[in-house]
């Protein structure tokens, strides 16, 4: 589902974010990407979303070589990816409802379906009572959960999250990881960038470790407990 072939990303002659990175994430996998700050995690995620292009090498997501992708195809490709940004990227002038509903407008869902979908997504992150709040009225943790709800609202093929638990307490962290796990069970491939070692170890998932732009370690997943089933936001699918 996500394939990196000898990917190097250089910003200038003195700054190389990724150096000859090769890895493969198959469909339905749940992978953690870890490493210290500045290891290249965010750059790698930006390459997946084609926010930037690699200097060398190829990135293939869902069978599509991103280097060869036309600009006009980009929006439709991005709709297949649910991205949780480190800085949330919520639209401040929009309410929580509008922030999520906007995605559904982009996807062309009729307005009558928005309320149900948005409510379901917010319920999954336990913020259904914040429907009419503005992002700046919410705490960092709440904003992060809204960003997660937005990323998951259209059941994307791939979920990519950049430090999605960075602002959350341990209980909420478990809750959020569980939401990602449920999305994974529903078929989404999940890649989470985090430097929370404890979270990674508890999960027993596959881990890719980056250090100064190079993959220094890859650990396979350990056997998991029995998966939970059922629709993610109570909306079927």
């Amino acid at each position: 589902m996500i394939h990196f072939y000898h990917v190097t990303k250089r910003f200038d002659a003195y700054s190389t974010a990724l150096h000859d990175v090769t890895f493969h994430i198959e469909k339905g996998e749940f992978v953690f990407l870890t490493g210290a700050s500045g290891a290249g995690k965010s750059t790698l995620l930006k390459l997946i979303l084609r926010q930037m292009q690699p200097t060398e090498g190829q990135v293939v997501v869902n069978g599509r070589n991103l280097k060869a992708m036309k600009r006009s195809q980009l929006p439709f490709f991005r709709r297949e990816i649910g991205m949780v940004f480190q800085d949330f990227k919520l639209i401040e002038r929009m309410t929580v409802f509008e922030n999520l509903s906007f995605i559904l407008t982009v996807l062309g869902l009729p307005p009558r379906e928005h309320k149900k979908r948005v409510y379901g997504a917010l319920r999954a992150v336990s913020l259904h009572h914040k429907l009419n709040a503005y992002p700046l009225q919410l705490s960092g943790g709440e904003q992060q959960r809204i960003a997660i709800a937005r990323a998951l609202i259209n059941d994307p093929l791939v979920i990519v999250a950049d430090e999605p638990t960075g602002n959350l307490d341990p209980d909420l962290t478990q809750e959020i990881v569980q939401i990602f796990a449920e999305a994974n069970l529903r078929g989404s491939t999940v890649l989470i960038a985090t430097h929370d070692r404890e979270l990674i170890e508890q999960s027993g998932r596959r881990v890719i470790t980056l250090d100064h732009g190079r993959i220094t370690d890859e650990k396979a997943a350990t056997p998991q407990r029995a998966p939970r089933t059922g629709p993610l936001f109570g909306i079927g699918g």
Partner: protein, 308 residues
């Protein structure tokens, strides 16, 4: 799943309008400037069109009944006048004649140009000549035979000048064309300026929403979806500008007809006879919308995701 689907979502158009109106409301001052620029440009075009329209109608009315004015010498003797009258009576084309004495000409002038009548009074003597006015069939008036008769008429004693009104009709037609052209050139230039103003307003708005636009791109909004509200914003600004221009023009027209036309009936009566027909009003509205569209298009075509 195909990666290309150019059809817009069903609720997109209403989203465009909602967003465009919201953004206009948020940026009221800059929107006002853009609307004012469009309104001024179209007001100028509309004024020229209105003048041309009324002159055009006057010409159309005049063309229906052509007239020959035969001005006599100031010192024409009664016998000369009688001879001229006899000549006119003998020629069928000029037979529908009417004699206008010096006194009648002065009275007519005083009636038509009330504010100039005092000046005429100060001259001491009546400067207007007596004349014959002949109604001539428009089709006949431009035949060679008629021209020969007119040349003969000019040779009669006691005649100062023979004037055909289709000559001034032709001049008036040229003037109308000139007015139309001047209006289009002046209005066109101003419309271009207005389009650039709108372009800058939209550019400012896009800068204001830069972060939001980036987010929209990242979550999969197409460029059409992102740019749509800005295009609609430009078109709405143009439309509102055009409506404002038409409203001001109509108010000015009504005021002119109420206050000016009754006082100097000839000149103002011509100019405030009729308002613009609906086709020209539609053209003004379309012109405003087009200027708005071009302005916003100029701005949004420059925007796009930066390559990293």
């Amino acid at each position: 799943m195909p990666l290309r689907d150019d059809t817009l979502p069903k609720n997109t158009i209403s989203y465009f309008f909602r967003e465009a109106m919201r953004r206009m409301w948020v940026s009221k001052r800059t929107t006002f400037v853009a609307v004012a620029m469009i309104a001024i440009a179209l007001l100028i075009v509309g004024s020229f069109l209105l003048v041309a329209e009324n002159l055009g109608r006057a010409v159309a009315r005049a063309e229906g009944k052509s007239r020959v004015d035969i001005y006599l010498n100031v010192d024409a003797t009664p016998s000369q006048i009688a001879a001229i009258d006899a000549w006119l009576a003998a020629h069928r084309d000029f037979a529908g004649r009417r004699f206008v004495s010096k006194e009648a000409a002065l009275a007519r002038f005083r009636q038509s140009f009330t504010n100039l009548s005092e000046i005429v009074g100060q001259l001491g003597e009546n400067p207007f000549p007596a004349s014959f006015e002949c109604e001539v069939a428009p089709a006949l008036a431009q035949t060679p035979a008629f021209a020969g008769q007119a040349a003969e008429l000019r040779g009669l004693d006691g005649i100062e000048q023979v004037q055909f009104d289709w000559e001034w009709i032709e001049k008036l037609k040229k003037l109308i064309n000139l007015v139309n052209l001047a209006g289009l050139v002046a209005g066109g230039l101003l419309a271009v300026a207005a389009a650039f103003t709108i372009a800058n307003v939209i550019r400012l708005t896009m800068m204001l929403y830069r972060e939001e636009i980036d987010i929209m791109r990242l979550v999969g909004a197409t460029e059409r979806m992102i740019r749509g509200p800005f295009i609609i914003e430009g078109i709405l600004q143009g439309l509102i500008g055009a409506v404002v221009a038409i409203a001001i023009l109509f108010a000015a027209f009504l005021a002119g007809r109420h206050f000016l036309a009754p006082r100097d009936s000839l000149l103002w009566g011509f100019l405030f006879n009729t308002f613009l027909p609906w086709q020209k009003l539609l053209a003004l509205l379309a012109g405003g919308m087009l200027a708005g569209y071009l302005g916003s298009w100029l701005s949004v075509r420059e925007s796009g995701e930066e390559k990293a």
